[in-house]
């Protein structure tokens, strides 16, 4: 994962972050559950990335003579209602689902963390305003918020990602704010300020690296939530556009053929389950590994 880069740049003045890095790896390695989760994620990621070069039929290649065929040698996962190869659609669907999960979390982190840090750092009216809006958004059930955003932006995969990203933002605002509040009273931050280090460099070099671990954990877990959210939006017809596949959209179609072609519903659901499980296991492992109390 990309967690090492901000910590590296923090340099020697951020002692806690430096020590933590090697410790985390060591602990993660000894956790079979986390490793298993990581492996699941990596396998799906590799499949998604390799989709264009794998020897599979195109995801939109229709074959009217092969509609809703059960799994066979020619079509290992069977075919769908348009005679399209489900293995191919599953792999291309992995791209949509993982991409949606990761991008929406990146959006949430990029919007949420700066706002949270500013709120925690500045306090006063800035904090009050940001906090009230955050609380308001947190009070609206996540999926309803995402449905509203997605309907507003119009159905497409990109818009679904933005909708999910925005809906997940408040969690990161709150987390970053809380962490900033805790860290800003630490000695090394106070001494940096006393030494005349500017506001932005202080935030960048002292605050950010030290609030990063819980945010990384939260981000990993949120990817899992986001993948389910994308599937839910596509399930309601607010995500990926046809004929391109996404697991949620495939499930949405499959529910019309539950009696005649149950396999159409089984694969995408199982894939969502596995990849989400992977992210959850990984996130849990990271949380334990990053938790200072467990040393």
């Amino acid at each position: 994962m990309s967690m090492s880069s901000p910590i590296d740049r923090a340099g020697p003045v951020a002692p806690r972050a430096e020590r933590r890095r090697s410790r985390v790896w060591g602990k993660l390695r000894t956790r079979p559950a986390a490793l298993f989760g990581g492996t699941l994620v990596v396998v799906f990621l590799v499949l998604a990335i390799l989709a264009p070069v794998l020897p599979i039929p195109g995801y939109a290649e229709t074959d009217w003579g092969a509609i809703r065929l059960p799994p066979s040698l020619a079509h290992p996962l069977g075919t769908d209602h348009n005679g399209r190869d489900l293995l191919s659609r599953m792999i291309w669907g992995a791209q949509a689902s993982l991409f949606a999960g990761v991008v929406s979390v990146v959006i949430a982190v990029c919007v949420g963390v700066p706002l949270g840090v500013i709120a925690g750092w500045r306090g006063g009216w800035t904090d009050a305003t940001i906090s009230r809006i955050t609380e308001a958004l947190l009070a609206v059930p996540f999926l309803i918020l995402a449905i509203a955003f997605a309907a507003f932006l119009g159905p497409s995969l990109t818009n679904a990602m933005i909708a999910i990203g925005l809906s997940a933002t408040p969690v990161f605002i709150r987390l970053a704010r809380g962490q900033t509040l805790a860290v800003k009273t630490e000695d090394y931050v106070e001494s940096a300020r006393a030494a005349g280090v500017g506001q932005l460099p202080t935030l960048w070099r002292y605050i950010l690296p030290n609030i990063a671990p819980p945010i990384i954990v939260q981000a990993t877990l949120t990817v899992a939530t986001a993948i389910i959210a994308e599937a839910s939006l596509s399930f309601l017809g607010l995500g990926q556009q046809p004929p391109a596949p996404s697991w949620g959209a495939m499930l949405n179609t499959a529910k019309n053929f539950m009696e005649q072609a149950p396999w159409m519903a089984i694969w995408p659901g199982a894939a969502i389950f596995l990849v989400v499980l992977g992210f959850n296991l990984l996130g849990d492992g990271l949380r334990d590994a990053l938790d200072p109390r467990e040393t």
């Binding site: 209602h81 556009q241 046809p242 019309n256 053929f257 539950m258 009696e259």
Partner: protein
Amino acid sequence: MEFKRTLVTTAAIAVLSSGLQAQELRIGLQDDADVLDPDQSRTFVGRIVYTSLCDKLVDITPDLDIVPQLATDWSWSDDETQLTMTLREGVVFHDGTAFDAQAVADNIDRSLTLDESRRKSEIGSVTGTEVVDDLTIRIDLSQPDATLMAQLADRPGMMLSPTATAEMGADFGSNPVCSGPFSFVERVQQDRIELKRFADYWNADEIHFDTVVFLPIPDTTVRLANLRAGDLDMLERLSATDVASAQDDPDLTVMDVVALGYQGITMNVGNGEGAEDNPFAEDARLRRALHLSIDRGAINEVVFNGAFEPGNQHVAPSSQWYDERFPVPKRDIEAARALLAEAGYPDGVDITIQVANNPVQTQVMEVVQSMASEAGINISIQAKEFASMLQDQSAGAYQGSQVGWSGRVDPDGNLHPFVHCDGGINDSGFCDPQVDEYLDAARASNEFDVRKENYDAAREILNEELPLIYLYHPSWIWAMDARIEGFVAYPDGMIRLEGMRATD
């Protein structure tokens, strides 16, 4: 099947005639009805409920002939602007109010003047009514209107109790009172609508159920599972792909009939921004190429297992209004490619077509997309929520839009609003004075031959211009418990309970 009766009385009833059983009919609907006021409502399922609740002045036969219901006889004045109807004697509304000519006058007035009324344009040709005597009413028109009788066989012709409408006003839908075979009991939003047998119904001998319950269950698979489990006695709109398995089930009966509506692609030829920089709007040859690239039979087979009827006109090939000179075209890729080349696009042309984001319509569009691509027409599909799609369609923010029409008994309702320059729903932006002339003439006559001639003349132009590319005519498909007898499939998709009964 859930025929409610107590264990104690079962034996006794079995000895007596079966007509004494307290029978309940549970019908699964695809959607929940909207407001239960025939003057305000707009949903198809609402009309299914009214069919049991509210009698109309006239009704239709399965062949779409107009037959008496609350009006027993009628005649037109020589200039066809006055319709005089004789009303059925001894009819009462569910609240005991007598049905008479004044009630008809009040009802027509309400349809025309209630603020919330959606019926205004449907009977827009009506200028007033005259109570001739207790059981005779005269309806005056501003001009001859061939569609009026068909309208009176639908919601504008439904008779509501004047006592109830006076008392409830626009809130009539919370406790509707009509004169149909069943009266309103209760409604739980998105859950159930319950009606009970009306003892004083004029045709009560034909009614064999004591209660009818309508249950909205949107998911077709779930609806069928409920029927199989015995929680429903009947359902409407069985999914075409479930027909085979339902037919194989000895406990179920499947009935179907080609509906009055159609599904097609509305092409934007002159409505707002979507018609600009759009080669398909500028050149009818491209629309013809798309039209020819589609194998309508294959769509029907792939998406609907052959349960629907391929089509290329505003009425189905089985209709008496169909123009036989233009049969459903065979797919012709070569001709389509030639048309593309002629129009200056030998290397292919792009178009974006929007579709409602439900799996079935999306699949239809995916099939069309794959067929058209072989002719060099590259379709991008935009799946939108129905509400957004309609808005973009109205506003002209689209190039092509795959959309359906539920259909009307009179063919005018399937064509006039869409292609007449002043058509109420002319989202295509098509306008041709010649076509307008034919459609107006067809509307102004009550003679079948005159009307058919005019529709055929219009079809000749429309078949070249193709503002709408029709794809297929859906069938209404009902599935019911095999013990239900006497159901007759009507092309308007309604469920008429007269003569229906359950046997043991």
